[in-house]
Symmetry: C2
Subunit: 136 residues, 2 copies
């Protein structure tokens, strides 16, 4: 946010500078009016592109970031979340169990709880719901 303010301050400053420059230029006749207009057009076109680029970057970050608040809101525990990640990686219960050094029974318990909390019937549906919620 601070950067945005800085950028806009600089923009206004640049505009004011242009005013002065244009006054001088027109009076003295050093530059043609067309040249000034073209310069302004190009510069502000580039500024527009730049600003938009920046704003999109911020948005894109928030669109792919994991919504940890949502995870809490769904009452998904740390262990359950680890299991959910395993599911989304396409692992079987046995593979998740080996990865986390747990028994398959434990994973099954966790999976059942995850399905309840995500209101899913299957693990594949859980993947979809979790992606919609942006928690994976």
């Amino acid at each position: 946010m601070k950067k945005t303010i800085l950028v806009f301050s600089l923009l206004i400053f640049a505009l004011l500078l242009l005013f002065q420059l244009s006054n001088y230029a027109v009076v003295s006749g050093d530059f043609s009016i067309q040249f000034i207009i073209a310069t302004i057009a190009i510069v502000f076109f580039m500024v527009g592109v730049f600003i938009h680029k920046k704003s999109l970057k911020t948005n894109r970050k928030s669109s792919t970031a994991i919504d940890y608040k949502k995870i809490k809101a769904l009452e998904i525990t740390d262990r359950e979340y680890e299991v959910l990640q395993g599911i989304s990686e396409g692992l079987s219960n046995k593979e998740i169990a080996d990865k986390l050094f747990l028994s398959e029974s434990t994973i099954k318990t966790h999976v059942s709880n995850i399905l309840l909390k995500l209101n899913a019937k299957r693990r594949t549906q859980a993947i979809q719901i979790a992606k919609d919620f942006q928690i994976i």
Copy 2:
């Protein structure tokens, strides 16, 4: 592509128009030079934003667009692809069968073939691989 050419043509035309307008304005003294500069700055700033938005849309499409060539390369048929979409939506074989007005047996056959072609052990893994390949 045709649209891009059109937009740029219009831009050049607008610029030429501005040249004429500015000449007239300065000579006649109807508008202050500052007003003209400010107008140009704002207009071209917006044009910059707009153009960048458009270009990003095209890029974003290609980044999230479905890689149909890849589907062909993997020799995934039309029907199989429909089933794959069902899988990625978190549907069961029975649900996919009902959706496509087919028997569950048929879906199982398709799923087996999809798993072979994607080199996946499970449907959850198929989802991951298909997303990596950007075919869903």
